[in-house]
Symmetry: C2
Subunit: 549 residues, 2 copies
């Protein structure tokens, strides 16, 4: 009896970097290939992507990639996978639009095969039939997948919520899920991001009303920021602008690109004549202007951050501007976002953010919505996906509280191999599923040693000691040269340098003949480090350089 193997390479026990493998016999498919933005201590790292060693062990097995929606944490690492193994990709139309931008940056757009699938359609690859179903989420064209396998269907929700009054008419297809549930689902793999939140996630409609009111009441210019992929939110702002006789200016690279792409593909309804360019904006009355911009996460180079800091090319914050943050800070970005809010207030703006008015709702299902899916799918087995480890544990507890047995509700972690057959489901193996760091052009070369060195340099800087020796005479050719970076301020530096020079002279001087030339760098390093710690209680990286002539 062949078993179904389920192998998460990312997205379990972490937010982002989502990637899941389903494997049956000689066939394997991947669902999503996302990236994660680096955490604080991953110094200098640009992106974190899944490790695909397991896939590359036998790349011929991988038949296709399926993408649930176009967010970075679900598609961002796709180019890195396709460079290694160029399999067909299947996704909805808007997702393809977003993927193509990315493939072009990586010069893969000529070779990659990205196919559009409509919800309701099924793609057959090897042993699998992969059916797309519609879900509500904070981006249009989001889909969940029903992976039909010889052992029964797997429901893989992707990111979703249940919104009965969505703005762009995109419902989570409860009927199809109920059908699958009646037929008997083998496995439910469900979004767990907001399992800590009681009750229901409010509808996007509530945000539409808040935004409309805020724009109606604004005394002068309005500036709105949100996620560039949150097309439905951008639509709301355009609708409110139209209703209140305002024109719209879009700024920030990703916002401009996404608005353009969404217009081209028909996902954004933009009334004729409502969009302005920069020249028109300077001539248009500010009280009739709405600016939509990037910067909802306080990104340092984004449009809103530049405005808050007074360095934006076209927009200077004026007293009585109203700035609306139609977004929540993603965990880790709180300080940046609140710093922008403070700076906007300093510049005299009114600021409307989620603590003050309901100008944002979450894109993920809360507890009551999760329960609905559990009840209508009634799967044989359950795993929580998309979430930190605590979310997966809590989601399992939720499943058990709804009547599932302890053995059938499983908490997995990245790299676990779950085997399911008619006898049940169990974790049978572990494959490598580490963080792979992307830094500049390097993929995977930055490891924990490089990061530890960066951490060391970051916390106390460095001191270089250059010693030129005449080896034969055992004499210094010149006074030792000492340089520091990121260690002490300019006023303190001369005294420290002088002190280090005496330490060096001590090491080398005196009983010259006894100096252990081979260990000289180690001795210098230790003695200088000890001296510097005594003087400053700091531990810079000490780099002794000896030039022997």
């Amino acid at each position: 009896m062949t078993a179904l193997r389920v192998i998460p390479l990312g997205g379990l026990g972490e937010i982002g970097r989502n990637m899941m493998l389903y494997e049956y016999g000689e066939d394997m498919i991947a669902v999503d290939v996302g990236l994660m933005f680096p955490e604080e201590e991953m110094l200098g790292v640009d992106l974190v992507i899944p490790e695909i060693t397991y896939v590359m062990d036998d790349p011929s097995k991988l038949k296709a990639v399926f993408l649930t929606h176009g967010h970075e944490d679900h598609i961002g690492a796709l180019p890195f996978l396709l460079k290694e193994v160029n399999v067909p990709v299947f996704c909805t139309r808007l997702t393809r639009g977003l993927v193509e931008v990315k493939l072009r940056e990586h010069k893969l757009h000529q070779t990659a095969q990205v196919n559009v699938v409509e919800v309701g359609q099924t793609v057959n690859v090897g042993a699998f039939g992969v059916e797309f179903f519609s879900v509500s989420h904070s981006i249009p064209d989001a889909a969940g997948l029903i992976v039909h396998t010889p052992l029964g269907p797997v429901v893989h929700t992707g990111d979703f919520k249940i919104d009965h009054t969505p703005v762009m008419d995109q419902h989570t297809d409860l009927q199809r899920l109920a059908e699958i549930g009646r037929e008997g689902a083998l496995l439910l793999a469900m979004d767990s991001t907001y399992v800590e939140i009681e009750g229901y996630t409010p509808s996007e409609q509530t945000v539409a009303e808040s935004l409309d009111r805020a724009i109606a009441d604004a005394p002068d210019r309005v500036i709105v920021t949100t996620f560039a992929s949150l097309i439905s939110r951008i639509q709301m702002v355009i609708d409110a602008a139209e209703k209140h006789g305002r024109r719209v200016f879009v700024t920030g690279r990703s916002m401009v690109n996404n608005v353009q792409m969404a217009r081209d593909l028909g996902y954004l309804r933009v009334p004729a004549g409502i969009m302005m360019n920069a020249r028109e904006m300077t001539e248009h009355p500010t009280a009739k202007t709405v600016i939509i911009c990037t910067g909802s996460q306080g990104e340092p180079t984004s449009a809103l951050t530049r405005m808050a800091n007074g360095t934006h090319q076209n927009v200077t914050i004026q007293r009585d501007d109203t700035v609306i943050l139609s977004s929540n800070p993603v965990p880790g970005n709180e300080m940046l976002v609140y710093r922008n809010i403070d700076n906007l207030y300093r510049a005299g703006a009114h600021v409307i953010y989620n603590r003050l008015a309901p100008v944002h709702v979450r894109g993920h299902a809360s507890q009551e919505e999760l329960k609905i899916i559990h009840r209508i799918v009634r799967p044989r087995h359950f795993i929580g996906i998309h979430g930190e480890y605590r979310h997966l544990v809590l989601h399992r507890q939720l499943a058990i509280s709804l009547g599932m047995s302890e053995e059938d509700a499983i908490t997995m972690t990245n790299g676990d191999v779950l085997e399911i057959d008619e006898d049940g489901a169990r974790i049978v193996d572990q494959v490598s599923a580490e963080y792979v760091y992307v830094d500049g052009l390097g993929v995977g070369d930055v490891d924990h040693i490089v990061l530890r060195d960066r951490q060391h340099l970051a916390s106390d800087g460095m001191v270089v000691v250059v010693v030129a020796l005449n080896r034969q005479l055992g004499e210094l050719l010149r006074p030792p040269e000492v340089m520091s970076h990121g260690f002490v301020g300019p006023e303190e530096e001369p005294e420290i340098i002088e002190g280090v020079q005496s330490v060096v002279m001590n090491v080398l001087g005196g009983e010259r003949q006894h100096v252990d030339w081979t260990g000289i760098r180690e001795t210098l390093k230790d003695d200088v480090a000890t001296y510097l710690h005594q003087q400053t209680h700091r531990r810079p990286l000490v780099l002794p350089i000896t030039v022997e002539v």
Copy 2:
């Protein structure tokens, strides 16, 4: 007519580092001298303290320091001030206990003059009479101050909330405030930390009930973490342990010290025989054990973090341990706290934190409490203190919404000089009130240049190029030596080093006589940096070292 001058040196437009000066004629007093914990980009910085240049311009003016309560953000920078100007300090008894620990560390306990004041008492210094009044806050013996001046009384709340059922019988003295209000207050300077929060902050009593239930229901050992200064919370845990027949083990340096100090001063009621030492704990049944420990903010070396990581000396997390986080993450600490929670779940513990059960309440007043103080004090002028800039703006709006005039409700920022006389209040000047960074033994020497260098080193590491030249012959004495730290991984390094060596040879080789020896370091630096960026898209710090013989 002499005016009252109000000069915040910290705590306005930032959380922490609270310090306020009140000045009348030749007399000046300071209220609180707190520190701030460094933000993410303040690499390697240990503490941030207020700049006291203004005080030191005429130190004889400063007559005394008054402390509202014993939290670090109100007392932590006191030793740095007293080292410069040793004036008397006045505070309540527990605050003195906490201050003395700190002064001892700085070897100031022999010289400092720290005087205990009871609430209700008034201390006269120069033109000022400073009266202490009781407030509820998340530490015992917290006080607000009524600063009596020739122009009328100033109410300086310090941190506070209104709790009608406090656990240690510490009420905010609304009666005295109402009395001051009836007599006519000149200025109200009020805590703004939670002005964004609607309604009331719940009573500590609600936490007592949740903790009691959690400890009663726990299947096996219980581990509780909270702020080490939150004595009332520690009391609740001891009370619940006693009620449910459990004994208590305390671990983590600051928790052990604070529990000891609070017992000695009579702030903690510890039934005889309930406390255990480490040896007793290992022999005591786990189902009858409660551990109180540090680590509520995910601090890397704290007891709870060690337990979560499996590296604690005495405590290994077992399946069915219950861990209670009776605290919220302070902004900026979210990632560390949630990482601990995830790791505790991985180790098999049950975890109870604030998203799941009401095991913590805030220590600051919410909107409705702030309104009560505004209404009973009815001051001539108002300033928001303690909070980020947005909090101060929102608090001013709140004051205006309660009927105060636009001119009388003032938003100040650190260094502003507010002058108040019978004609009104206005900002008349700005004094320097920058961040002063403490790093090791250095106070103030780490500046933005040092931090910029650390940032640079942190993001891409460094590359050192050593070139030994015979200047007369214009020849290299040996092949250039190249070293890197925090730049690339060990596998990539040899190729990069070889590449840098050729770049160096190119710069120095060829038409030897044309080499500009004086600019050689700059040329090497530029060429190597360009090469490295081409190869890696990273920008390490390049340090060329030339030794000429």
